[in-house]
């Protein structure tokens, strides 16, 4: 008999309540005995004899009933489960004072873990959304397009594709968009899904022979071509260059899931077509020094990421030699993605630790609440036990309640984390597809069910066991064991203290960072960025506008405008002198002489740059001077530079190996600085990079006279107006984007700000939970001692004495928790060192703040119940029992 029929029968039979079945059974047996008695009477026995005979023939009625019950129960254990569930739901509904905080706590704890896991899963561990993701690998570092071509041609183990992003304008769109520039084999190798047309062919991606074809994204197809199939073969103008559309990608088609879906794809070789005005960008494809394209590819049969990495590294060594041929590491696409990488792992670990701490607080709190509820329910349990419920049955019922609670919390936490993910995606400015990917999947949902269940069982089993045992052992209403309660409080407070210390340390780091001196006048100086509405003759237009601005503003004393070129980093600088020494990693910036004065650099020795200085005469920063010539004056000293190791633009290093445009302007800078001898004319104080994170270490650096592509002006309304007017005169379509350096300098703090927000949110939620837990426990304790308080008050105890009495025990648990938490935090704080700016990991203020906040919360949580106990009329309390 199929199980479902049994189930259906069971559900049908459930309609009759248990009591009815019991009555049924009794009636049936009674009728049976009656019938037999009648028969024996008819045979001539006396009524007494007849009844006895009937009973003898039947056997023990009680035993039969028991056996019947057994049969029914074993057939319908599901039924009692259902009963348990209903009973649990009912009793939870009745006890809102327990249910609401418990569900809230669990939801928060489990929801945070769910949220964390789904984000982690979606952003970092989800394979690229492409067919056969198992054979898909990606490079963890970029290589130059020229190097990529060689690797792709020579590699035996992998079909390698290259991905770069190139900022461009689609004609008619005022805002620039980021496109993917990809190698000709990209679509075939990665199998990015298309809905129409075809991907690129390798002959469309030959360096030096660009073909203007494009594959457009689904969104663009919808917006521009209304999903018309005619789009294939039509042209679309990109940076004023017509491109022929050969394919349309499927909705949401992308390679790297953590990033937005591309608007369109171009062949890598077509890169110069859209960047025609920028000479250095033309070199992007041919100069092996130029970084970077991102690597991705398909493993050939029986290859693994490690064999491929080994082969590509060897090939790269052949091309670039030991120094330039860095290792190339390919990993599966489901491993940590860019732009998170390395430091992300540490960060994820930290966040996970925080989230787990909150979960632990939630568990402790739930245990707390269950314990309190257990002792409140002792009368009920006692009655049920004495009515004949077995202890196992009661424990089972208590556990069922726990499971109902866990179920509710899981459901709510899934809702909560889904909503949070949607909110986060909006906040991060990602499109809807990202949010969709971040929704908890079944694995995450399963995990949260498991966590909630384990949490509730672990914290509920003890109280359930103890609750029923106490009823059994002592037929009196004992207090729930104080020791267990205190432990829950201690644990909660301790964990909470750790979280609050972490949050206040980070917050103090953030505020400290904001007050750190960057070494230049961040408020007084603003950077100028020329914004054009198209790419046509971009380079020359920008140059003309900058020239006009320079000419329109005075650069003499005090300077209003200055320019600077790209920052370069030399691997080594040779210091001449009696003992030949070498300084590694030295930065250089070519600036106009007005630059250092405009930035208000602090002159330490010698003089600043002058208009008549030669490019060989330089000003070094203090770090340089101290390391190169310790203990003596640097002025007049001499050093030699090699070729720059890397050119780092003003812009940050771009995410996935897009050639960083800001650096492009001077990547081919004058050869004057390469391999020449410099003489120090002055030393200035260390200046941080304007877009670096405050507190970041400053490289040894020197300033040389030279051309620049970046403009800086004094942040003065009149001067800014003059600059804007000058720009408009030259090019009405252009606009100047003027950003005070204080803004871009602070921008380096944005990730820290997010971290502080996160830490504060985590610690606040744990604080709320801990306060609720303390309140719950304490309310219970005072409730139990109400009678005692009444007696004491009646006997003339002062209010202060009562408060002291009540606070004593709670105070000890709180103090122990706080102490343990602070010690734990002190031990763990060095983990945060990397994120603390200008603050030690054992900053006393942060610890003090944590202590005070917790103490205040605990005092509030204990004060309310005490006050309530004090307010009761002793006469009423005494009469109550």
């Amino acid at each position: 008999m199929p199980d479902w029929r049994r189930l259906a029968r069971w559900i049908g039979s459930r309609r009759r309540s248990r009591r009815e079945t019991e009555a049924d059974m009794a009636e049936e047996i009674r009728l049976h005995l009656e019938q037999r008695t009648r028969e024996f009477l008819a045979q001539g026995l006396t009524p007494e004899q007849a009844r006895t005979a009937a009973r003898r023939r039947f056997g023990s009625v009680d035993a039969v009933k028991d056996a019947c019950r057994d049969e029914r129960r074993s057939a319908a254990w599901l039924g009692t489960c259902w009963l348990d569930l209903r009973h649990a739901a009912r009793s939870l509904r009745r006890d809102a004072a327990f249910t609401v905080p418990a569900v809230f706590t669990l939801t928060l704890g489990v929801g945070l873990v769910t949220l964390f896991c789904s984000v982690f899963n979606g952003l970092l561990l989800e394979p690229w959304p492409l067919p056969e993701p198992d054979t898909l690998v990606r490079g963890t570092t970029g290589v130059s397009p020229a190097v990529y071509r060689v690797l792709q041609a020579r590699s035996q183990s992998i079909d390698l594709a290259a991905i770069a992003s190139c900022p461009s304008f689609i004609d008619g769109d005022a805002k620039g968009t980021t496109f993917r520039c990809v190698s000709g084999n990209y679509f075939d190798t990665l199998r990015v899904p298309l809905v129409l047309g075809r991907g690129f062919r390798s002959e469309e991606d030959v360096t030096g022979a660009p073909v203007a074809v494009t594959v457009i994204g689904y969104a663009l197809w919808r917006d521009r071509f209304s999903l018309s199939p005619d789009a294939i073969g039509r042209t679309i103008r990109l940076n004023d260059v017509p491109f022929r559309i050969v394919g349309v990608a499927a909705p949401g088609a992308t390679d790297q899931p953590a990033r937005n879906v591309p608007r369109l794809w171009l062949p890598l070789a077509a890169y110069p077509l859209v960047t025609a005005d920028i000479p250095s960008d033309r070199e992007f494809l041919s100069n092996p020094e130029y970084c970077c394209v991102q690597l991705a590819g398909r493993l050939r049969p029986s290859q693994s990421p490690s064999t491929v990495s080994a082969e590509l590294t060897a090939l790269n060594r052949q091309i670039g030699g030991e120094t330039h041929g860095r290792p190339i590491v390919m990993t599966g696409t489901a491993e940590i993605h860019q732009p998170w990488e390395d430091s992300a792992v540490a960060l994820v670990g930290l966040i996970l630790a925080g989230v787990l701490l909150v979960l632990l607080v939630a568990c402790a709190n739930t245990g707390n609440l269950q314990l309190a509820r257990g002792s409140r329910r002792q009368p009920e349990l006692l009655i049920r036990l004495s009515l004949g419920a077995s202890r196992g049955r009661l424990v089972r019922q208590l556990l069922t309640e726990g499971l109902v609670l866990a179920g509710a919390a899981t459901l709510l936490s899934l809702v909560f984390s889904s909503a949070a993910v949607a909110g986060m995606a909006r906040w991060l400015g990602r499109d809807a597809s990202v949010a969709l990917r971040l929704l908890p999947d079944w694995r995450v949902a399963g995990l949260s069910v498991a966590i909630a269940t384990v949490a509730i069982l672990v914290t509920g089993l003890g109280p359930a066991y103890r609750g029923t045992r106490q009823v059994l052992v002592a037929n009196r209403l004992t207090r729930a064991p104080m020791r267990a309660r205190s432990w829950f409080v201690v644990v909660q407070v301790a964990l909470c203290a750790v979280l609050i210390v972490a949050a206040s340390l980070l917050a103090r780091g953030l505020t400290r960072a904001a007050t750190l001196d960057p070494g230049f006048d961040a408020d007084e100086v603003a950077s100028v960025f020329v914004r054009l509405s198209s790419y046509q003759s971009r380079e020359s237009r920008i140059a003309a506008i900058q020239r006009a601005v320079l000419d329109a503003l005075p650069s003499a004393d005090p300077p209003v405008v200055a320019e600077a070129g790209a920052r370069r980093v030399f691997a080594q600088v040779a210091i001449s002198g009696s003992a030949e020494r070498v300084l590694s990693r030295v930065a250089s910036i070519s600036v106009s002489p007005a630059y250092l004065r405009l930035f208000n650099a602090r002159l330490v020795a010698g003089r600043l740059l002058r208009d008549d200085d030669s490019p060989a005469q330089v000003v070094v920063n203090e770090s340089f001077a101290k390391r190169a010539w310790p203990g003596r004056s640097a002025v007049g000293a001499v050093f030699d530079t090699g070729t720059p190791q890397a050119t780092i633009g003003n812009g940050s290093v771009s995410e996935t190996g897009a050639p960083s445009r800001a650096s492009a302007g001077t990547a081919t800078a004058d050869g004057a600085s390469a391999g020449t001898r410099r003489q120090v004319v002055g030393v200035v104080g260390d200046m941080q990079r304007e877009n670096s994170r405050p507190g970041a270490p400053v490289l040894p650096a020197f300033f040389e006279r030279g051309d620049g592509d970046r403009l800086y002006v004094r942040n003065d309304a009149v001067m800014l107006d003059r600059a804007r007017a000058a720009a408009r005169r030259i090019d009405p379509a252009a606009s100047l984007e003027i950003t005070p350096l204080s803004e871009s300098f602070g921008a380096g703090l944005s990730d820290l700000r997010v971290g502080v927000g996160l830490a504060v949110a985590l610690s606040a939620s744990s604080l709320v939970m801990a306060a609720m837990g303390i309140f719950g426990i304490f309310a219970l304790v005072t409730e139990e001692r109400r009678r005692e308080v009444g007696i004491r008050v009646a006997l003339g105890a002062s209010r202060a004495a009562i408060v002291l009495l009540m606070a004593n025990r709670a105070g000890r648990a709180l103090a122990a928790g706080l102490l343990a938490g602070l010690i734990g935090a002190a031990a763990a704080a060095p983990i945060l060192r990397h994120y603390l700016i200008g603050v030690g990991p054992h900053d006393p203020a942060a610890f003090l703040v944590a202590g005070l906040v917790l103490a205040a919360a605990a005092a509030t949580a204990t004060f309310i119940p005490i006050r309530r106990a004090l307010r009761t009329d002793p006469a009423i309390t005494l009469r109550a029992d």
Binding site: I29, E34, G59, V64, A67, C68, E71
Partner: protein, 115 residues
């Protein structure tokens, strides 16, 4: 068997035979508990003197398995009685159990005759 002491028939009914007998009796007509007991003892020429009470756990078991259903009704002498009816699943089960019983009886008989 801990249960034997409680409610299982004292007679050495082979385990599961009682179920078979009940099903067989119910195949002919719907019956109440004591009617079933009467039929079994009639047809076995009183050989199976069972504790009548032990019928009920068996009936409950059969009902839980869906082989019989029960409903209250009027007995032949106009008294209330709970009637048990064989279900389709019960019929099938009866066939299965009868067949296996006959196989076993034949096997045992064979052994007894020839061994």
């Amino acid at each position: 068997m801990g249960r034997t002491s409680k409610a299982e028939p004292a007679a050495a009914l082979l385990l599961g035979t009682l179920d078979l007998l009940i099903l067989r009796v119910l195949k002919r007509e719907r019956l109440h508990g004591w009617g079933i007991a009467d039929r079994i003892s009639q047809h076995s020429q009183q050989a199976l003197s069972i504790g009548e009470g032990s019928l009920y756990p068996a009936l409950y078991r059969l009902e839980a398995r869906g082989w019989v259903t029960s409903a209250w009704g009027q007995s032949e002498n106009n008294r209330r009685a709970k009637y048990y009816t064989l279900t389709r699943a019960g019929r099938t089960q009866l066939d299965v159990e009868t067949a296996s019983w006959e196989r076993m009886a034949a096997a045992i008989g064979g052994v007894l005759r020839h061994a």
